[in-house]
Symmetry: C2
Subunit: 371 residues, 2 copies
């Protein structure tokens, strides 16, 4: 935890600053969308993804030190707003994220997010950040981190089914972490595929656009599904899955939303983030509650095997978990000082005398204006 | 829900704005500490409290339309961070609040808070606001709202035991809503009492400072306890409580933190906000789980009686509930346009094509800078 702003005692603040100016303790660093975009392009998107994966891996390796809970949702007919909190006992983070599939009709995003990282020992926020872009990055970094353990080491070709907002981040993370060089793109909307191809072309991938999911998976070592339909879909069917592939199932992430035919699941070694959440939200919602799954962190901690043979089908049933957001907020926080890409928000009331909140309010305009 | 910023389709945004400038949809109104202080002093603190109580009352009257949950806490040795979400099906709100009793040692606040109000139908935040000051206001407004129903109509004299940050807000809310004119102050720290007296003197109260809690309650119609010690204390003992008083117990608000001798509770008609939370956090944590209590909203909705005789002892066992914060955020949101006391935060990524998040990031600096 780097102190970005000098810690000042109330007395020293009073001596050096205007009595009406907030003290340094009142400010919280804010990473806006603009600042996040500049941070990503300054660091470089692939470097960002690789470094971020390192933070996520570090937190997965100390999984048991975290307070964990399933998301806290509020539903309505159009969608859901969720809070995703977690803490390691020293730092606390939460993400606010919505999911509203109809939003694009009014030019809004389906998913937007923001989050806060705090010092749990005093409760003060250390960072307030946009997380729409950051979530896209952490989702891709987590997928690639899992695949680095689970895919065959010689995997270089990835099918990318669903070419929406998340797809390019997946491709770049797999390139940065696994050296994936060949992409096979498919989306039911050719315009999405073309957008994906256009965005990725400058990065030097060998890209093939395909007319069907069946064509996309041909010869691919890794199958990534990132479709957006909110329903039980069959993006991959059993006959499309050959020996030794790694399936990175990202789009099936809420109750009633899956992408894989059930038969695939019974053939695969299944790896998950947090079972109580994945049983509800992931592909394994199609399976009995007691179907065996392996927690990814146990593989990273050396407690459980990952891939056990070159012919095994491995599946990362990704739904996204609070610890990944926590790691992402840590990553951004650790880069505030070096890059300076943040604004300061006057978020915390900080009277000279903590017991004199009303006095601070009344003096703020230089006099009483109550009636 | 007033549209503060014009809603623009992606096409019209692209036609009129710089391609690199965020669209109006990207901005969230932010009420900083400075802006909140200006809002309070512009409206006038007593008017603010009275109007805010009206919003809280309106939401209590439609209690059953809300999604309710107990707070979601993260604990450490030094304190707690809590999230308090709720929704009425159309709007969603949550508050982040910490409680760290040792914070004042480094010049930090024991309690700080901020919150968000969102449109649940599209998930987009409508307001991001400081809530340290706003929580102090809503707590006092809720107390006075309860007392307006529960105290004797002729109550004009209030004992105020505990003269910290919350105390003056209580006094002003009781003056605004009930016409309380006489105050009897006591705190174990005379400096706190003097601070409270000094802040309240300009408002025209008849104020007596007292040497003991016993002296403070003498002749008072309403007894307000707002002490801060985090332990089971006996601020009021049974022999201090005469017939017909209303007790406004605010400081007992977490497990192991109470202010009233248990015997008082068995003599009083007890009114609470949300029983599942108050059983854990309020004075009634001292009572068996099945001890009868009345939900305040039922009194306001005419379903249950409030005070039943002039001699009854009534107790509002206040712990603070998410619906009060929701109402407070609604109140502030409804005043954004009129007073203009907010900044705009670039919080929401808003690409022209919602599926082209990476493209937006890469174009943000006018070129690729990946490595």
């Amino acid at each position: 935890m780097t102190a970005l702003f000098p810690t000042a005692s109330p007395a020293s603040t009073g001596a050096t600053a205007s009595p009406l100016a907030p003290s340094p303790l009142a400010y919280v660093p804010f990473v806006s969308v603009d600042k996040m975009m500049r941070l990503v392009t300054t660091i470089g998107v692939e470097t960002f993804l690789a470094e971020l994966a390192g933070y996520i891996e570090a937190d997965f390796r100390r999984w048991e030190s975290f307070d964990k809970t399933v998301r806290i949702p509020a539903h309505c007919a159009q969608g859901v707003i969720e809070l995703m909190p977690t803490s390691d006992g020293a730092l606390y983070g939460f993400k606010y994220v919505n999911g509203h599939p109809g939003n694009t009709r009014d030019g809004r995003q389906t998913v937007t997010a923001f989050g806060v990282l705090s010092d749990l020992t005093n409760g003060y926020p250390l960072l307030f950040s946009e997380m729409t872009i950051l979530t896209a990055l952490r989702t891709a970094a987590t997928s690639a981190m899992a695949a680095r353990i689970l895919a065959r080491p010689d995997a270089r070709c990835m099918a990318l089914i669903g070419n929406g907002a998340q797809s390019e981040f997946q491709a770049l993370a797999f390139r940065a972490l696994l050296g994936v060089t060949h992409l096979r793109l498919f989306d039911i909307d050719p315009k999405a595929t073309e957008k994906c191809r256009r965005n990725l072309a400058p990065f030097g991938f060998d890209i093939r656009t395909c007319d069907s999911a069946e064509a996309a998976v041909e010869g691919a070592d890794i199958l990534t599904t990132v479709t957006a339909d909110k329903k039980n879909a069959t993006i991959l069917s059993d006959n499309m899955i050959g020996a030794g592939v790694h399936i990175n199932a990202v789009g099936g992430d809420s109750p009633g939303k899956t992408e894989l035919q059930r038969e695939i699941l019974t053939r695969a070694g299944i790896f998950v983030e947090y079972p109580p959440q994945t049983r509800i939200e992931g592909e394994i919602q199609q399976l009995p509650e007691d179907h065996p799954v392996t927690e990814l962190w146990r593989v990273m901690a050396g407690e459980c095997p990952g891939r056990t043979s070159a012919g095994q089908i491995t599946l990362f049933d990704s739904v996204g978990f609070a610890i990944e957001d926590f790691a992402a907020l840590r990553y951004v926080h650790d880069r505030l000082e070096r890059f300076g890409l943040f604004d300061k928000l006057d978020l915390l009331a900080d009277p000279d005398d903590p017991r004199d909140l009303l006095g601070m309010v009344l003096r703020s305009t230089g006099g009483l204006s109550n009636t």
